[in-house]
Structure formats: C-alpha cells, structure tokens
C-alpha cells in the first residue's frame, strides 16, 4: 500500500510539472479557458484533483490545496485569506494525543508511532498556518494595500484586515496551555509538541499580531486623513464652481486675528560688508579678486599695441634647394676647419657670394651644427651675436653667428 501511495504521489507531481504552464496560468487568471488546453490533459488534471469545476457549466478552477501551496511557496501577496479555524485544529490535536496515549498504554508501539507522526504533522501545520496568516497581514500592511487604487478601497481593505486580526486574536485565546499540558501529561514527546512548540509559535504570533494591529490602526488613521484632505480639496473646488464670487472674510480685520494668518513680514536684508574686520580679510580679498577691472580708457594710445590691419596674401612659394644649401654649409664648416679662423656665417655668405636668404642661411648653419654627431660637435664652438629687441624686452634677435674651433 505504501508503494502504491508513493507511486500515486509521484504521478501527481509529474502531472503538475508537465502542466506547469497551464497551472500557473490558471493560478494567475483565476479560471481556465478550456480552449487553451488539450482535453486529455484537462481530464487527467481533473482526475488527480488539481482542477475542479465548482458549478456545472462554470469554468475550471484550481483546487484550494494547490493554490495554497503556490501562494505559500511563492510568498504571493495576493494571498489574502487567513485561516482562522484554530479551535477545531486544537480539538483534533487533543484527540490525537489521547489516541497516542491509549496506544502507548496498551503497548501498541507501531500504532503509537503512527499517531505521533500524525500529531506532529498537525502541530507543525498549525504553527505554519499561524505564521502564514501573520505574514499575509504584514505584506498587506507593508505595501499599504497597494493592490487597490482608491483610498476608499484601502480603508475597506484595512477594516477587513483589522477584523481578521481580531478574529485571529480571539482564536488564539482558545489556546489553553494548562489543558494541553494536562493532556501531554509526563510524556516527553507530547510535551515537546503540545507545550513547547505550540507555545513558541503562540508567543511569536501574538506579539506580531499586536504590532500588526497597531500598524493597521495607524494606517487607517492616515487613510482617513488622506480622504479628509481629498474631500476638502474637491469640496472647495465644487464650492467655487457653484459660487464663483465666493471670497472668505478678511480675518486680518477681526479683533482677534487667527494665528494661522498672523504671518510676520520678512524683516532681514542681507548684511553689509565690514572692511575693518581682520578675519574677513581673506574672503573679501577673494571677492575683490573676482572683480574684473577694465581701465582701457585711462591708458595713452600706444601705436605699437594698436590694432593694425593685416594684409592676407598668398605666401610666396619658398623653395629651398636643400642640396645646394647643405653643401654650402658643409663647405663653410670645412673652411673653418681649414683656416682654423673664427668666421661668422654672414661674412662667409658675402665672401663666397652665395645667394641664399641670410636668415635662411643662419638657420641652416645652426641646423647643421645641431645635426653634427656629438663627438664632431665638440670640435666646434658656435656663438650667436644677440641683440635685444628695441621695444619688447625679453625678446632677443640673433643677428649673426660665429663659428670657430675649440
């Protein structure tokens, strides 16, 4: 028989997993559109007790047990049902405990064990359902009944939740731990289940419920305040529509002006700068530094600085015969080596009658000197003949360069 049960369970779970899409669709939408699924699968699911038809001709729905399973596993906040039927569960717990004790007394240990298993199942189911109920309440509080849009609906939901809390609390009062401990007697396992486990869950549950209740009241107060404010706004608008010329009496003329309208005129103006305060000096300096002083008009007109018209014309093509000038520079260096005399570049230029531009020539000589290898350069000394610019100080003009041997 055990084997059969195992097989049937596996078959059921397999059916669940095979039709997972379908079941989730029914879970989310509430009912099944029978056109969407194959009739064979539907028959199978109906036979297994996963789907059922509450009324003939009505749509198929998920069985409560499957729905509860999904809700508790998915922590779905739509789970708004709270199981408050604790009284009957407690009664069945007591009955089972009696069975267990009787079986023990007659030394039927196998039977006793079965009762014990049953009993633990019930106790843990009870604690779990208590926990779930509280969790469902809290999830509703935490999103402030976000699943309904209007404030009025929120207030109704809140009232429903408050009813459920008080229901739960009154059910919890049915826990009589003295009775339960009498039932448990001196049997350790029973005591553990009926007294310790239940008491722990009871204590946790009552504590959380009392918090939930106070939060609910607080929320209700807030919702009512919201509703009051909305009505105030809408009412005012309505009133203004009906009596567009409505103007409240000027309360400021009453002998007792209401505190609400007693608003003093702004008094303070920004303070002025005190230049004699030493500790402000730094800040003031910064401020002064940021001032952009423009004193152009005070300066005498300076011809050199005055704007000049710039003539833009095509640059004449300057072509340098690289080779010729290179050879000339080399010849100049050779001349210096040969004679051993110091010779300025321009002197050489005129002496040889070369027709290079003097400036280009000087540049090329400097370039030739820089272009020498390090050890070759050591033999030469290059000295520019520098002249200061007549007007703009700091600018030097190289008039000529003198090359000699070291």
């Amino acid at each position: 028989m055990n084997q059969n049960l195992h097989q049937a369970g596996v078959k059921l779970l397999n059916a669940l997993s095979r039709n997972a899409d379908l079941i989730m669709q029914v879970y989310l939408s509430g009912t099944l559109h029978e056109g969407d699924a194959s009739p064979g699968a539907l028959d199978n699911l109906k036979k297994l007790g996963i789907l059922w038809r509450p009324e003939a001709g009505g749509p198929l729905r998920l069985k409560k047990a499957v729905r509860t399973l999904l809700e508790s596993s998915l922590q779905d906040e739509r789970n708004r049902q709270i199981d408050t039927n604790i009284g009957s569960t407690l009664a069945s717990l007591k009955t089972l405990a009696q069975h267990y004790k009787e079986a023990l007394a007659h030394h039927r240990y196998a039977e006793a064990q079965a009762h014990m298993n049953d009993l633990s199942e019930h106790v843990y189911a009870l604690t779990e359902s208590l926990g779930n109920s509280v969790r469902a309440l809290f999830s509703r509080i935490n999103n402030e009944f976000g699943y309904v849009a209007s404030i009025d609906a929120k207030i109704r939901e809140n009232e429903l939740a408050q009813n459920q809390v008080s229901e739960l609390l009154s059910q919890l009062e049915m826990f009589r731990f003295d009775e339960l401990s009498d039932v448990a007697g001196s049997i350790r396992e029973l005591r553990h289940l009926l007294v310790v486990a239940l008491q722990q869950s009871f204590a946790r549950c009552t504590q959380e419920l009392s918090i939930a209740q106070s939060r609910l009241l607080e929320l209700l107060g807030r919702f009512r305040e919201f509703r009051g404010k909305t009505r105030l706004l809408k009412g005012f608008l309505l009133h203004m529509e009906q009596q567009p010329d409505f103007a409240p009496a000027n309360y400021a003329n009453h002998s007792q002006v209401p505190t609400l309208f007693n608003l003093a005129k702004p008094l303070l103006q920004p303070a002025a700068v005190d230049v004699n305060r030493v500790d402000h000096e730094q800040d003031l300096l910064l401020l002064v530094g940021r001032i952009k002083a423009l004193h152009r008009a005070d300066k005498p007109i300076d011809e050199q600085r005055a704007a000049q018209s710039i003539e833009v014309e095509n640059q004449g093509q300057v072509e340098l015969d690289d080779k010729a000038i290179h050879q000339a520079v080399e010849a100049y260096f050779c001349e210096v080596i040969d004679t051993g005399q110091r010779l300025t570049a321009l002197q050489y230029l005129t002496k040889q009658g070369l027709d290079f531009d003097p400036e280009v020539w000087i540049y090329q000589v400097i370039g030739g000197y820089q272009g020498l290898a390090e050890e070759d350069r050591k033999f030469f000394a290059l000295e520019p003949e520098v002249e200061n610019h007549p007007i703009f100080t700091g600018n030097n003009i190289v008039r000529d360069i003198e090359l000699g041997l070291r």
Binding site: F226, K229, R231, L232, L233, G235, F236, N262, L267
Partner: protein, 211 residues
Amino acid sequence: MISEQGRILERLLSGDFICEISDEDGWRYLKQSANFEAVDQYLSTLNRSLSSAADGQVYFAAYRTLGEGERKVLSSQFQEIAAGLLPLVEWLLLVQQSSGSDVPVTQGSTIRSNELQTTIEDTPAYKEQLAKIARYRLFNSNSTEVVGQLNLVFKRLTELGYLLRPNPDKQIYIATGKIDYLYEVLRFIDETEALSLAEQAESAIAQGSLL
C-alpha cells in the same frame, strides 16, 4: 560661526516656513520646548513671536502685538493667500489625479515633474486643466506648451516655498510643510464660513457627478 539658534532666527525673520522637509535640523531644534521658548523670547524684541501650524509641522514668525501697520500687512497678505487658494487647490488635485494613487500631496510627497508631464500630455482633460491653472495670476503663464506651463508652475511653487528641489539636476520635487499649512487654511475657512466642504464633496461623489 553662526549658532543653530541664529540660523533659525535668520530664516524665521526672512519670512521662511520651517518644516521637517525644508530644514530638518531647525525643525527638530524648535520642537524642543526649551528652544522654542528661547527663540520666541528672542523674537519678542522685534515684536515677533514664534508660531506653529498644522500640528506643529511648520513654524513661522508671527506678530506679537498688532498695530495699525501690522494689520495692513496681514490684510494684504491674507488677500494674497485667498487669491492663491483656487489655483493651488486645482493644482493639488491635478497632481493627485494624474499620479493615479489617489493619495493627496502632503508634506514629504515627491513629485516627478517629467512623469507628471507624460501623464498630462497623454490625457487631454489634464492638459486643459493645466492650461487653466497656468493662466491664473499666481502663475501667469502665456505658454501654450505643456512643458512650458509645467516648468513655470513648478518654478513658482518652489519660489513660494511649497515645493523643494533637492537636486537641481533632477526633476524631482518634494512638498514642504507649507502644503499642510494650505490644508489648514482651507480647513479654517471651511469651519469659519460653515461651508461644509467635505460633505459637499461626499454628496457629489454619491450622486455620481464626480469631479
């Protein structure tokens, strides 16, 4: 270094409302009765007193004794408040309706102006409502675009101290305690003029002529 008290005094005397959103430190400071007394004492030299509204959610400076001049100031201020009521109420309802959560704007509510803009642009009724609101003298917009109208409304409300923009790079605004002050003003007018606004709204809802 300016003391906390000095800072708060400066804000109060500049005509600011101090609430948990606009100045949390200052608000907590004033919540302690000893500090409240001290600030009040200080203000008394300037014929001001420390006043609070909306269950202590906002603090502001009020006149201690009212002379001719003070009454004149209060009178013109009241005119301003009364003139601003209708646009503000319409604005609050617009934000509440378009946010879809049916929760009124109160202190600490965040408003994302770009989300609001998308909703309003998608709904012709909201568009009309916004255009109407923006044309009030309080906002005085002559823009025909939703963006321009919204930006102006947000800018004005921030200037008036109803909204706070914590990060100038982001389009997120937080409602300050001054919004709750506004509700208080409405409630006061409702009671004093015996308008029974809430009942009017309720009966209108019951009759189905929902706003």
